[in-house]
Symmetry: C2
């Protein structure tokens, strides 16, 4: 049996895909679906979410975005969700070439859309939408940055459309008058992460995958194990659980043939990893009718802010990035900055009701790339360090572990952060549930 | 039996004082202590809360503030609260004359204090504190306004101290460096309104006063009653209740010898009154240690903002004033303004945790004065229209109804808003529970 430590979107996705592939698996998490996945906005926007220097991360995002529609469809099926179809917020228009200009000033008029879509978008009951992301610019610096980004996307063959301020406001009439230009990434999508984790838990239940509600206190090592010569200790053979407060019938440990560490920002508490918590505060506003048709992003006061519309009229405003350790307080300063910046992008947000503010902790890594693959100690595989990309990268992460994405696997190999002691310096291979089992005691 | 419609701080206070005076009384409210009293900050600050043109309101506030210490002490006793004593946040210093200047730059040094206090302040378990309010000014206009206000207070014989910016920061080191001057009203106090309403409910229970959890749908009139010639209808003889959703054993009506309408912003729904809801959004921040020693107020961007410290480290930031009808949504714009303005006063608030944001509806009147006394129809007495002053004015309101404050009663007489049809144009007299009973059917 393989044990996934962590019940966020990454851990639950892995358990689901492994179980689907016929492999016995168990998940352990004190409160599944309550961490960063609960706070996340759910932008599936590799183009917009990335600094241009981060081409590897961009490639990962594009590869994972490509997997999202089938991931969502299969998940909805396994979770027993009704085949939800979300009507497009506006009638789909023809794809108008390299730099299509929307011709109608009306809010319901034709808009540029990606060639891949026409007609209603299936939402799979997950509020999955693919209406693109609009990056907007206010000043000359921002405009120049958008031009540069557009050129970069073009070079990579990614669909992108450069828009004037007026064109931006035709697409999104609620945008601030001060918006001077924009960049539409028509292929970008988004999803409601809370619906995704709920669907994953439902799918796991239907597949008979146990989800143990307990906190892992430490990794179990093979007694007297020889180690692997890397100095990272003997083989991992399971986990020890915190003794439950109320007694209960929980075991004190769970033994497994392989442990997959998907504990997000807490991963470094269980194994020596260059993972740090990056706090994000995010706000949910409630709108009687949708204020936006798609995700809108912009740089305001030097910080990125984004607005993600949900099918139910919610508008998610995110997110702060704070190096505060394991601090999940919602602060006056965080809320203030989110509202200040959202107002700059879309002044009309002030009228909306505040439904919720939450803080989550992203698992940050030194190079902003996740750690996916063999940890460098027998019996332990990593699937963590997704930082701001956990929701986007969940499908790709499962594919890497199943050996379906060798190129991405190489980019995410944990070996890049390890002192290279020979054998474990290899690039990540497919996760077979027995990595290093020959060394287990 | 007298029936109080409304279980906010005003209605509950009246019921308590009437019962204490030996008169049978009942309260009816669908959710006592959940309206404006729940949202209120609890400043007992007649001097600071008033525009200088509002001398009548100021006089009411001063009269009620004078009653607060004994009101709080007796309430604590009747509610069975332990005789809580709150240590002063800083060691009390000597009162230094007409315009004392604090001489110590340290945070724990002596501060100007009112002559009435030295040593620990009794909090009566209500978080009642009397460390004064500091009004601060940023610009030349604000400073001039403070000078004018100081002169006005002086003329009225109210204690007030004019401070420089530096003196303000000596008193409250967390104040923004841009504060250029201030006005200390050393006699101002504050209290936790939620503790007060909880204590009132406890006191009523101990006194055996029924609190009926139901919504009043209308006032019951004497059938075929002659009216009083004012066109305001026949005598009020009780109330009709909304039929409870879950069945229950509630009666469909409650008959009473007199009805006291203390339904706050909803009072106008039951009787023709010039009452409108004035929405206020307020925020509670959580501080590991107190950021302020007293209430701080200032004008920021043309709007007043205040910060009220609680004994448990909470800092209340208030409050918006919005004419939005019966809308109690917490909005992005309201939260934004509160945080923006609070930051201007005390930049350090950004570090605090956001504990709660709530919205309440104040009962506004055309002249900002409450309506207390005979309504002008037999059997009905008003105790409403307290606008922003419900907490401050609760003790005075009960005193007016018990005939103890004829001068204040004249200022609050509902007759001032009525077409004068003779008999009911008289100033308010003491409430005897039988107002106009000779005319009842």
């Amino acid at each position: 049996m393989e044990l996934v430590v962590g019940g966020g979107i990454v851990g639950l996705s892995i358990a689901w895909r492994l179980s689907r592939a016929g492999r016995p698996v168990t998940v352990v998490d004190p409160a599944p679906a309550s961490g960063a996945s609960h706070a996340a906005a759910g932008m599936l926007a590799p183009v917009s979410e990335v600094a241009y220097t981060e081409e590897p991360l961009l490639r990962l995002g594009v590869a994972s975005l490509r997997r999202w529609p089938s991931f969502a469809a299969e998940l909805a099926e396994d979770a027993g969700l009704p085949p939800g179809v979300l009507a497009p917020s506006r009638p789909p228009g023809p794809f108008g070439g390299a730099r299509p200009v929307p011709s109608s000033p009306s809010r319901s008029g034709p808009v540029p859309s990606s060639p891949a879509r026409s007609g209603p978008v299936p939402s799979y009951g997950l509020d999955f939408r693919a209406d693109g992301t609009l990056d907007v610019a206010f000043g000359a610096d921002d405009l120049a940055a958008l031009d540069e980004l557009a050129g970069f996307m073009d070079k990579l063959g990614l669909p992108v459309e450069r828009l004037t301020g007026r064109e931006c406001r035709r697409l999104e009439p609620m945008l601030a008058p001060s918006v001077r230009g924009g960049l539409l990434a028509p292929g970008d999508a988004w999803v409601d992460p809370r619906r995704v984790t709920a669907a994953l838990l439902a799918a796991l239940e239907r597949l008979g995958v146990p989800v143990v509600r307990a906190r892992v206190s430490e990794l179990l090592r093979a007694p007297g194990g020889p180690g692997d010569g890397s100095g990272r200790g003997p083989a991992v053979v399971g986990v020890r659980l915190d003794s439950p407060a109320g007694g209960g019938d929980l075991p004190s440990e769970i033994r497994a043939d392989g442990v997959i560490l998907a504990a997000g920002a807490w991963s470094g508490e269980l194994y020596d990893l260059p993972i740090r918590p990056v706090k994000g505060q995010i706000m949910r506003l409630r709108s009687p009718e949708p204020l936006l048709g798609r995700c809108v992003r912009g740089m305001v006061h030097g910080a990125p802010v984004y607005l993600v519309p949900r099918g139910d009229g919610e508008l998610v405003v995110g997110a702060t990035q704070e190096e505060m350790g394991f601090d999940t307080r919602v602060t006056a300063g965080g809320v203030y900055e989110l509202l200040r910046d959202a107002r700059e992008l879309v002044p009309g947000v002030t009228e909306l009701e505040v439904a919720e503010v939450v803080a989550g902790l992203r698992p940050g890594t030194p190079d902003n790339l996740p750690l996916i693959g063999p940890a460098g100690v027998p019996g332990l595989t990593l699937a963590t360090g997704h930082h701001r990309g956990g929701v986007l990268l969940a499908p790709l992460t499962t594919a890497i572990l199943l050996g379906e994405e060798p190129e991405s696997a190489a980019l995410c190999s944990p070996a890049r952060h390890q002192p290279a002691p020979g054998a474990h310096d290899r690039p990540s291979g497919p996760y077979d549930g027995n990595s290093g089992s020959e060394e287990m005691g």
